[in-house]
Assembly symmetry: C2
Homo-oligomer: 137 residues x 2
């Protein structure tokens, strides 16, 4: 197992983590992912952790790093498929995954990404919305 595959689905990238992230694998994933975002112009990254039964502080940090890097390249990151037991353990360990959005499954994650991208696009398209108060749209 040399690298975790990154699948392109429309304007999103999907990463399914099925193995324990050790140091080199995590670095490879970070580097592969930023390159993939840059190459494809992806607007969102979905990280599926439904096969992960333990999220420790290392993995939490890697996920946080990925989200921050993706944000710098104008892509949002959503972590999907967290097992209930993982959520319990994370909070018991005091890890709240700051800066990382989550969704129950891939479909809901995609909806979340799509709504965020639309919000961003509409804000960018109408920067003087406040001046327009009262006009119907």
């Amino acid at each position: 197992m040399e690298r975790i595959p990154i699948l392109r689905m429309g304007s999103f990238l999907l990463v399914t983590i099925q193995v324990d992230l050790y140091d080199r694998l995590a670095l490879t994933l970070e580097s592969d992912l930023v390159q993939a975002i840059s190459k494809t112009g992806a607007q969102g990254v979905l990280i599926d952790i439904s096969a992960v039964s333990i999220v420790d502080s290392f993995m939490g940090r890697i996920i946080g790093n990925i989200a921050s890097m993706a944000r710098l390249l104008d892509a949002y990151t959503v972590v999907v498929g967290m097992q209930p037991a993982v959520a319990i353990t994370l909070i018991e360990l005091g890890l709240t995954l700051p800066g990382v959005q989550t969704a129950l499954n891939v479909e809901k994650g995609m909806q979340l990404l799509q709504s965020r991208i639309q919000v961003t696009a509409s804000v960018e398209e109408a920067p003087n919305e406040d001046d327009d108060a009262g006009s119907p749209e």
Copy 2:
């Protein structure tokens, strides 16, 4: 690693194989997948093997089994993301993955599935097309 996650994406299911399929894991995958098809009514299964560097006769047989089982439940299976080296090795070993369709990546696999489902639907909607010869549609 107890089971390979199955992700639902619209009317398709996506399975990313990242580890060697040993006997019990393969059986679990088969059973999980047919249950997921039955539960979700999925019309297509995408099996991503981009992280697999060796496909031997065992794995070829498992993929063939999955495709046959899915077909019985009215779902098509497409294997996507095969590495060039894997294609070379498969043919050198005399394994041609009979009954299994392939596509270059997930996006092309989804297009293939969508076109197959549309063809099937249009054939089912117009069973007496031959009697209608000459009428414009």
